[in-house]
Amino acid sequence: MSEKVLMKGNEALAEAAIQAGCRHFFGYPITPQTELAAYMSKRMPKIGGVYLQAESEVAAINMVLGASAAGVRAMTSSSSPGISLKSEGISYLAGSDLPCLIINIQRGGPGLGGIQPSQADYWQATKATGHGDFQILVFAPSTVQEMVDLVAGAFDKADKYRMPAMILADGMLGQMMEPVAIGEADVKLPEKEWATSGHKGKRKHNVINSLYIDPNVLENIVVERYKKYETIEATEQMSESYLTEDADIVLVAYGASSRIARSAVNSARELGIKAGLIRPISLWPFPKDVVAKAGDTAKQILTVEMSMGQMVDDVRLAVNGKCPVSFFGRTGGIIPTPAEVLEEIKKLAGGAV
């Protein structure tokens, strides 16, 4: 285990990506992901890597597409408005079965919105990162250490399933400093026999493509891709459960808001309210099995988000009416306080305390 150092979330993400074997970063400046790209611009030239500042988010994601097609581990990072611009490229990456890592350090929206932390891109990340039938892998860290720990796995799963992966964090996690250990990973990058990096006279040409003019062919390809998604949904759900076993009120929160929800759960326990927390780590696949199980035992489920209520849809689908699901959130860059969340828990507990 390597020594702990104090790092900003954004910088920790960048170093973790380097440790995971990524040597190709393409980006465009935007707040609050700034330090990530700056870190890459400093480190990449020293280790024979590529940091390239593109002319736009659109260009950056397409550079990622090209680099991924050529078979290397490639990534980009941005914040909410920039991810909207990347959505075209993400759809093409998914339609071309190309792996990559996209980091979204979320800020308030819509439009230019603000630059303070937000979780209002949940729907975009998990439901509609671009046009067409497709999914991407989405992981939501809640600490700087977890930002590090999820990166290598995100790259590996992107390679394994040949699809884009996203780390969905926010301005709070990106900007905060925490002690973190970044292990030097023993990286074994997989052979990519599908890559377009020259046939070297040894095989027929490889083609990376998302166009299928015959609807029957396109339908078959999409259906095959969805079989892969089914496997992922069955095997890759990730979550952490905290004090849920005997909980009457189960909170569901991810990322930054899960830290606040956890504090509120602790305070509620001190008041004698049996509260617990499910913290989704993978947002797609959503940990619906764990949430569904909570629906069997809890009296109330409360989703806490830094948005007007997005993940709560997935919670309701998983709970499927087995118990009431309510929502509390702040948005626009406002971080809910533990006291506000505790108040919601107390309301659900029926004013008994």
Binding site: M63, S197, H199, I208, N209
Partner: protein, 248 residues
């Protein structure tokens, strides 16, 4: 019997889908022959555009990537930066390169991205059925300029080679045509130079090829060649607009 001519190994056996009289086929052949002559087919990676040439990923025998509309040079940048030993080219039409992909074009050029760009200028959107292109001529009738391109209203055509020639990152910007055998030979020389520049690490090279679209121009193949000569070449003069070798 001695073989005196063979189809280039740079093309697959897939039949081309292009309309009769379209010059894409000629340019495909020139690009493929050049890559074969330079011995780079085994490490070449092409980027197909969105537009009529999108299916060229089936025609070129080297590795191919199909890019989103206008993004071919960003994709080519990613490929080249990932594996610099690859010989990377994009093949794009006027809508792809000079309208939706203008930013990607200008910035790949100004970065001096060490890639080769083949630019087909036929003054119209072909695949979508003949709309006004960024290079449609003043007064040209298209599906979306049914009364002719009114420059007061729809603006002026872009002269891409002239525009890019101002950028320091550009090693070669040359406009050619494939309307006559002589011009075809000149076009091949230019394309060869654009690939040689990349192999020598000289930076961004673009060859603009004036091309025909008889279907959407509403002309026969021979009329289309005459129209190109009479209308396009005067507005888009052939020649070398930037050659770094001349600058020194």
């Amino acid at each position: 019997m001695a073989v005196v001519f063979e189809k280039t190994k740079g093309l697959t056996d897939a039949p081309l889908h292009y309309c009769p009289g379209c010059t894409h086929g000629i340019v495909h052949r020139l690009v493929a022959e050049v890559m074969e002559e330079l011995g780079v087919l085994d490490k070449a990676v092409g980027v197909a555009p969105v537009g009529c040439a999108v299916f060229n990923y089936d025609y070129f025998s080297c590795d191919m990537v199909q890019a989103p509309h206008g993004r071919a040079q960003a994709v080519a940048t990613g490929i080249k930066r990932a594996v610099p030993e690859n010989v990377v080219f994009s093949y794009q039409g006027d809508g792809d390169l000079a309208a939706i992909g203008t930013a990607e074009t200008v910035h790949a050029a100004t970065r001096g991205e060490n890639i080769t760009v083949i630019f087909i200028n036929n003054a119209i959107y072909g695949m979508t059925g003949g709309q006004m292109a960024p290079t449609s001529l003043p007064n040209q009738i298209t599906q979306t300029t049914p009364y002719g391109r009114d420059t007061n209203y729809a603006g002026y055509p872009i002269r891409v080679c002239e525009m890019l020639s101002t950028l320091d990152g550009v090693a070669l910007a040359q406009r050619v045509s494939v309307d006559t055998p002589k011009n075809v030979m000149n076009a091949k020389k230019a394309i060869k130079k654009a690939f040689e520049n990349q192999i020598a690490g000289k930076g961004y090279s673009i060859v603009e090829v004036l091309s025909t679209c008889p279907t959407n121009w509403g002309l026969t193949p021979t009329e289309a060649l005459t129209w190109l000569r009479d209308n396009m070449i005067p507005y888009y003069p052939l020649g070398v607009y930037k050659d770094k070798e001349d600058v020194k």
